[in-house]
Symmetry: D2
Subunit: 287 residues, 4 copies
Amino acid sequence: MKKESIIALLHGPDHPGIVSQVASWIYDRNGNIDHADQHKDPEANIFFQRVEWTPYDASEKSLEKESNAFKSFARSTLEMSASVVLSTKKPKVALFVSKIDHCFHDLILRFKANELNGTLACIISNHEDLKDAAESYDIPFYYTPLEKNNKANAEEAQNKLLKELEIEVVVLARYMQILSSEFLKAISVPVINIHHSFLPAFAGGKPYHQAYNRGVKIIGATAHYATAALDEGPIIYQDVTQINHRNSIIDLIRKGKDLEKSVFAQAVRLHLNNRILVYNNKTVVFD
Amino acid sequence: MKKESIIALLHGPDHPGIVSQVASWIYDRNGNIDHADQHKDPEANIFFQRVEWTPYDASEKSLEKESNAFKSFARSTLEMSASVVLSTKKPKVALFVSKIDHCFHDLILRFKANELNGTLACIISNHEDLKDAAESYDIPFYYTPLEKNNKANAEEAQNKLLKELEIEVVVLARYMQILSSEFLKAISVPVINIHHSFLPAFAGGKPYHQAYNRGVKIIGATAHYATAALDEGPIIYQDVTQINHRNSIIDLIRKGKDLEKSVFAQAVRLHLNNRILVYNNKTVVFD
Amino acid sequence: MKKESIIALLHGPDHPGIVSQVASWIYDRNGNIDHADQHKDPEANIFFQRVEWTPYDASEKSLEKESNAFKSFARSTLEMSASVVLSTKKPKVALFVSKIDHCFHDLILRFKANELNGTLACIISNHEDLKDAAESYDIPFYYTPLEKNNKANAEEAQNKLLKELEIEVVVLARYMQILSSEFLKAISVPVINIHHSFLPAFAGGKPYHQAYNRGVKIIGATAHYATAALDEGPIIYQDVTQINHRNSIIDLIRKGKDLEKSVFAQAVRLHLNNRILVYNNKTVVFD
Amino acid sequence: MKKESIIALLHGPDHPGIVSQVASWIYDRNGNIDHADQHKDPEANIFFQRVEWTPYDASEKSLEKESNAFKSFARSTLEMSASVVLSTKKPKVALFVSKIDHCFHDLILRFKANELNGTLACIISNHEDLKDAAESYDIPFYYTPLEKNNKANAEEAQNKLLKELEIEVVVLARYMQILSSEFLKAISVPVINIHHSFLPAFAGGKPYHQAYNRGVKIIGATAHYATAALDEGPIIYQDVTQINHRNSIIDLIRKGKDLEKSVFAQAVRLHLNNRILVYNNKTVVFD
């Protein structure tokens, strides 16, 4: 039912005529633009575009060819950064988890219900607690234990796995370990984390305890790309819910779980639908 | 500070190349696209576009000329309906009100604070209660009393006023009279109404009483274009708030007032910023 | 960690001294009130109270005894309706489902995570599609097929099951059949339904299609007690989310699924925590 | 229409029987409890209650007498802190403002519409910009200019005014000055401030700029009691709204204005309805 299409994300210094050049390039090759959205950051003078089109010939081979042609055009003619993907390609996802399992179950069920445009290729965990659950979902589970004072070993094993499985995006479903900057560099794929507060409030550990102690009237959750600076990466999506003085920390954790699930899923969906561009530690989200 | 620009709203049957044709037309005349947003309704096969651009020469005279040239282009070449406005032109607004005054004050204060891209040209009321308030805001107030069994007289006076003042949009700030279909036809400008429920629930009179009696847990407000069918016009914006068993009808009315103000203002803002296209009794809102 | 307590829900005609009488009764028997919440409907002149207390002796036997003593007190001295439950008793729940499975998975996972104060005793379905899933969750699954023109047979089988398993509440997780008024009468336990619209808007079938066609800007979900009048029972909880012109019916269904899950779970939680009183086809929710 | 009543706010170390003692005291004197709400902080072992009742004789004189009798009872028998007010008494409010006027207009209009249970006694400002506006609303305006390096003079003048006018609560409607701890101590009445971020995120100056630079996807507003520690006082109410990459700082400021108005008004309403208790730098809000 869904037509096959090409999706390009462009960004670079703004100059007149980009919209026209892109549209004409597609039209001249008998493609048909399905969606196009653009944004200019007037301060940074950067232009962003997400364009999705159906080429004249939508065979797999033609899609590849057109996609490559557009990449060349974007770089040489437009002089812009471009990532170009085919709607036929479902990115391979690795889910990292520890013991807390609500985001784990929620995301897996969404993959199973075809809500997410990707393939959940594996579960990686520093604990064995969710091994059986992963297997009942029929998803490969890899146990990469963290020896004391030796996180590097686990990260090396994880990196090896990601490379072997050709993983294209890592999602941290309440993975309770800080990823080293070396690891982030080595894997060189985007990593999406869910933090259980409305950042920048309550960064770091135990945000619900921090929120309870401060006496705030709202709690939140934040999905962001992980960077070497803990809880400071580009924010993708946030949401909050009201709390009151009757709510104990246990209530905050329970209410927060629902927020974490929906915020995390929304961020993963946006990423897998190629709707996010990152610049200056911020995101442009073409929703 | 704000650059002068031209804003076009286009819609019509979809065909390949529209985006490219529009972008090229602007680029070929040395204009620079500031924003562009499009939408396709795949079922109705209708294409919608909002495009805002700065022409090479942004003098008043040139803006007029370019605007007219685009209109011709849209109609003859693209074969689409087009409304084209200049960012230098502030539409003239008439505010209708009866006695309930929260939307009245709220909207006037937003005009005074330059939050809304229009000129509040007059207040028209079937009561004299808000005459002094209108005068203290320094806005012309017109009293068009409704004689029993003779709404036509008042509507004729109102239509005359709107024509004389060259009003381009009417906003009903809790105006407690139903506009006749003859009047709507005669004035031939858009009319924005605020209804105090989340339509289609609780259409008609006393929606807060209806909501209280049904025992709903949310109440809402709906801004829509008025049509001959009461409360059935195209919806522009809606919002809701939670209520509970402790809330009396008086509480619902109080909470609802805040919703009505913000929903009404948001709809008026979107209209005055030329962000709304109407088709099939629905709206496309380029926000 | 959690102390054992008694929870009473009272309601009846208001008269002075009820709060004092209840509090004194508990205090005189050396109980300690943990929570107390009351409400008066001034129009209907009905008083409602939820009171939770720890008796002096919190043994199972004493809890039973105190609970019965309070029931007598409420009926004879206060002349009010009273339902009294022990925090040690977890109500037995039957989940009805057809083929659509998001509320099914969501609720089961919440039971497994001890988020809900009840025991999920069985799954009952008019289809066999979710049999394997139920078994992998280790929950008894009963298939009660609906023969054409013979819903009574299935309902009889279902009623028998509910009686045998001593079910105390039925939850309809998108069960796509209308329950007959005879069945509702026969089972004589509360039934919680999730409807995929903000009632009373879009009652009946295909509410997302109705919403799409009307062009609303918000969609919602409503959890309510099922009564003989379809979609007209007392509303427990409602929530909504914003949509826009870009959203297809498929998007509405996807977004709605998240609403349905959270609204349904919230209603089931409130019921299982004995926080809901019903009167005049409305609910008092002591949250 | 509204019956006259007495409202007591109690708090202190928890011990059994408080609810019973309070209810019996009222019942024994032929009073009728209209509302009662209580809360226990299990960690701090503090009990909180808000109770509203109609005494047998609701004359002004009797209300005073009963109110004083309850105060004695609370202190001597219950050994709890108690503030007791009469529904017939409307607290006198002083509104501080600088130049930014949206919260100023909004709050004044709510007082005029009888939405708030208090008397707006005066406007105090460090600028003369809103003098005419205050006068058109018929509210006394006091100009207390801040000389460079001499805030003490202005604060002394302000304190004198508050004492003369017998002000019972100060509300800071975007008053752009930090109140000294000496001033807060001297005036010895509660001070409600509106901060334009979801605290503790973006405390201090220019929160919308901070939010823009961090790239958050929600912005918020926080109403709190002012204390000597800037932006760290007990939080009364908070709310947020979604933003996206298209929103400039100017958009954030505009959207934020609506949040500030509603959050500020809600906090002032709760305070004037005697619904807030403060302890451990947090609030218990009996809503």
